[in-house]
């Protein structure tokens, strides 16, 4: 079964620990500009949203890459970069509608690789605003939440 990274912005407290552990895990340094995940904040509304690669099925980065350097790893359900083929043209950065492709300090493109199946952002996020779950159960969770909301509504209507 394939797992995927899901985001629940309502749980996010905006602490950015995910950015810290991502940059340390991948590059050995603390530097959010190297992080593959970012918390986008609207400071005066208290709105925090974790943004990270969606690991698209039909990925724009993959489609635009002139060297076929971007491929899907179906085992982990992720989009990966083959750095042997990558020429660093950054077309993928321009094409991604979510900002999932980034540019590292040395100019190479970077993206979330799900830490090879143990995403550090998920491991450290106590709120589980980012979570790593079975892809097939994602909508089942949502259905349960929807029914819970419905049940609350129903009980209000009855009482």
């Amino acid at each position: 079964m394939q797992k995927m990274l899901i985001v629940d912005h309502e749980k996010c407290t905006g602490c950015r620990l995910c950015e810290l552990v991502c940059s340390v895990y991948h590059d050995g340094v603390s530097n959010p500009t190297r992080s593959r995940i970012h918390i986008i904040k609207f400071h005066n509304q208290g709105f925090f949203f974790p943004m990270v690669c969606q690991q698209c099925q039909d990925a724009a980065c993959m489609a635009i890459c002139p060297k076929d350097a971007i491929y899907r790893d179906e085992e982990l359900g992720r989009v990966m970069i083959n750095y042997d083929l990558c020429i660093g043209c950054k077309m993928c950065v321009a094409a991604c509608p979510f900002g999932g492709m980034g540019i590292n300090k040395d100019g190479t493109v970077i993206k979330c690789d799900l830490c090879d199946g143990d995403p550090q952002c998920v491991r450290f996020c106590d709120m589980k605003a980012v979570d790593y779950v079975e892809a097939s159960t994602v909508n089942l969770r949502k259905k349960r939440e929807a029914v819970e909301n419905l049940a609350t509504l129903m009980s209000k209507m009855v009482s």
């Binding site: 309502e10 749980k11 996010c12 407290t13 905006g14 602490c15 950015r16 620990l17 810290l20 552990v21 340390v24 895990y25 590059d27 050995g28 340094v29 603390s30 530097n31 959010p32 500009t33 190297r34 904040k41 400071h43 005066n44 509304q45 208290g46 925090f48 300090k105 550090q120 491991r123 450290f124 106590d126 709120m127």
Partner: protein, 636 residues
């Protein structure tokens, strides 16, 4: 590497900047953060200088592991001579400023002089510019940061700003980052205002190399688990510090009606559970899994729809219990106003509660208040006074001067109703049943304060084995008594001293106190500090060496106060602590007053443990032992 972070000297009068590395021997002696700030203040502040004059240095810092892996490494520190007290000015702030400063290449800033017109400092990846702030001057804390983000075209910049209160030199104006992160105490915002400095804006994209990245990552997980496995952290995750109120109000350890009572009757409306009606979720400082403050939107009333963050336990006291207002709206609005004006919530609430008592006693009249009915329980009057203090209008202009100056202006015996130490108001807690906490506020280097030496766990009446584990030989020997009864005077001097050292060490590292032995007994302390400093920076300290650093820096803070004319007489409580027993509360808290004789003995014991003489002056032997007998040495 964190150790590559530099110190910048910024002269606002001359518009000059000088950048220097921080020598490793200074790290070994002071680690960083508040510790090194204490050294810098002692060296750069001319004795007896005017705190609102250009010579008073404003020292801003990030802890040594700011932005690194250490459970919660977000704290910045601000130091100067205090315009409120004339003693040590020192304030610690959470949020996102310190890590950004570290990513921008700096750990310490020493800001001197005065800009000829409103200015802000912009620090970006090693570069420092002084820029015009005319467009921002006058704006509130929230708007100021928005204007600066827009002007710089970067939503990721982090600001340390002052609001109108700092501009107007309110002597308890704070510095702010975001909506509620406040370097609250001792008027550091007024020092910024006196320099025409509206903000310090930072943006950093420089690598902070971690000495042992994988080990530090794993150890970070251990530290986080250590902190959030405790019940007190889990309660904070859900309710923030507001949960404390339920306990202290029920017991009778809180202040009400400016110290006249120690409980707010029927005070259930300001219980933390009522935050669910307005909270949209919690917010955390950088890297922190305790996320102890609410994001909330005010519903109804004149401030309907306003978004801000908090409130803390302190604001429940400032705008709930002290002014005798059992109404959450008062707390939510009060918190918003002080956040946006850039006022210390604690001092503001204390000044107004004091004015309310004076008004009810006839010392202040309608003529003084400009017609405001400043009775206890009147939330509209409370809000109006906050506006007036920040804008320095009418009576607000008097209260903006802080406790002692305001009492002098008002006269008529008003001084005896002040609840303060060294000219700074106390947290809205009642220490009459708790001698350890009373000694803590009496002796803290920045005046009446709970975050410099409070042995808060004394309130838990813990099993004696637990007290032994925390306070004995951790990491230095202690043979004296430890008593698990918070009404007792015995052994408490050591607990206060131990907490002083711990909190100083925490403030050197840049950690938050909620991630150490403050409210949680099993939280990290000296041993863990040594480990994470090593894994992040490569710098090796033993727990004993960290204790010595803390002792060195704390002693320097004490020396600063002594140089400014403070002494044993200032390590004392106002008469009400001794003369008026608590009227309310549970049996452990009711009918309690501090015993003068026992308190004096406890103070003597505290000085002896510190190796200070009977006047509270550190002995020459101690200074020599700590290597600070030749200060100021002007090494940085």
């Amino acid at each position: 590497m964190p150790l590559k972070r530099k110190i910048a000297y910024i002269d606002l009068s001359k518009g000059e900047v000088e950048v220097r590395p921080i020598p490793i021997e200074m790290r070994r002696k002071y680690i960083g953060g508040r510790g090194l700030d204490a050294y810098l203040l002692y060296n750069h502040c001319p004795p007896k200088c005017d705190p609102l004059g250009p010579d008073n240095p404003l020292i801003v810092s990030a802890g040594i592991v700011a932005g690194c892996l250490a459970s919660a490494s977000a704290r910045s520190h601000v130091m100067a001579k205090s315009p409120l007290t004339g003693a040590l000015g020192s304030a610690n702030m959470g949020g996102f400023f310190a890590p950004e400063l570290a990513w921008a290449g700096f750990h310490h800033l020493v800001i001197k002089g005065k800009a000829s017109q409103p200015a802000y400092i912009f620090i970006n990846d090693g570069r420092i510019e002084i820029r015009d702030a005319t467009k921002v001057w006058g704006a509130g804390v929230y708007d100021s940061q928005e204007i600066l983000r827009q002007e710089l075209g970067d939503p990721e910049v982090q600001c340390m700003v002052i609001g109108p209160a700092g501009e107007n030199l309110v002597r308890f104006a704070n510095v702010m980052n975001g909506h509620k992160n406040a370097g609250g105490r001792t008027g550091m915002g007024a020092v910024m205002g006196s320099k025409n400095l509206k903000a310090i804006v930072v943006r950093g994209t420089m690598d902070l190399e971690i000495a042992y990245p994988r080990e530090a990552l794993e150890y970070n997980k251990e530290l986080i688990d250590m902190v959030i496995s405790s019940k007190v952290s889990q309660t904070m995750q859900r309710w923030g510090t507001m949960f404390i109120y339920g306990v202290t109000n029920t017991t009778g350890l809180i202040r009400n009606r400016n110290f006249q009572q120690n409980q707010l009757f029927g005070g259930e409306d300001i219980e933390c559970e009522n935050m669910d009606k307005v909270s949209i979720g919690m917010a955390g400082c950088f890297g922190c899994q305790v996320h102890c403050r609410h994001r909330y939107i005010i519903k109804g009333g004149p401030y309907d729809g306003v978004y801000t963050e908090g409130p803390e336990y302190t604001s429940q006291g400032a705008f709930g219990t002290e002014p005798d207002i059992n109404d959450m709206e008062s707390v939510l609005v009060g918190n918003h106003l002080v956040n946006d004006y850039g006022l210390d919530t604690l001092e503001t609430g204390s000044m107004i509660a004091w004015a309310m008592e004076l008004y009810e006693k006839g010392i202040l009249t309608d003529k003084d208040t400009g017609g405001i009915k400043l009775n206890f329980g009147n939330k509209e009057a409370l809000w109006e006074m906050i506006h007036k203090i920040a804008r320095r209008e009418g009576l607000g202009d008097v209260l903006a001067e802080g406790p002692l100056r305001a009492a002098k202006k008002i006269g008529k015996g008003s001084e005896k109703y002040l609840i303060h130490v060294k000219g700074m108001s106390n947290l809205h807690s009642d220490e009459r049943p708790t001698p350890s906490l009373a000694l803590n506020i009496a002796t803290a280097t920045r005046g009446a304060d709970h975050l410099r030496s409070r042995p808060a766990i004394d309130l838990y009446n813990l099993p004696i084995e637990v007290l032994d584990k925390v306070y004995r030989n951790n990491p230095v020997p202690y043979e004296g008594p430890l008593v698990n009864n918070y009404n007792s005077y015995e052994g408490k001097a050591w607990m206060v001293l131990w907490q002083e050292m711990l909190y100083m060490a925490v403030d050197c590292t840049g950690l938050c106190k909620y991630h150490t032995i403050f409210l949680g007994v099993n939280h990290p302390a000296f041993k863990e500090f040594a480990r994470f400093i090593y894994l992040n920076t490569g710098l090796e300290f033993t727990p004993e060496e960290i204790w010595e650093v803390a002792n060195r820096a704390y002693t320097l803070e004490r020396m600063f106060n002594i140089r400014e004319g403070f002494s044993r007489k200032d390590d004392w409580l106002v008469d009400r602590y001794f003369d008026e027993p608590t009227p309310l509360g549970l049996p452990v808290a009711r009918g309690k007053a501090i015993d003068r004789k026992k308190f004096k003995e406890m103070l003597d014991e505290y000085y002896q443990l510190h190796e200070w003489d009977e006047n509270g002056v550190p002995t020459p032997e101690l200074l020599k032992k700590l290597g600070i007998d030749k200060e100021p040495s002007h090494q940085l």
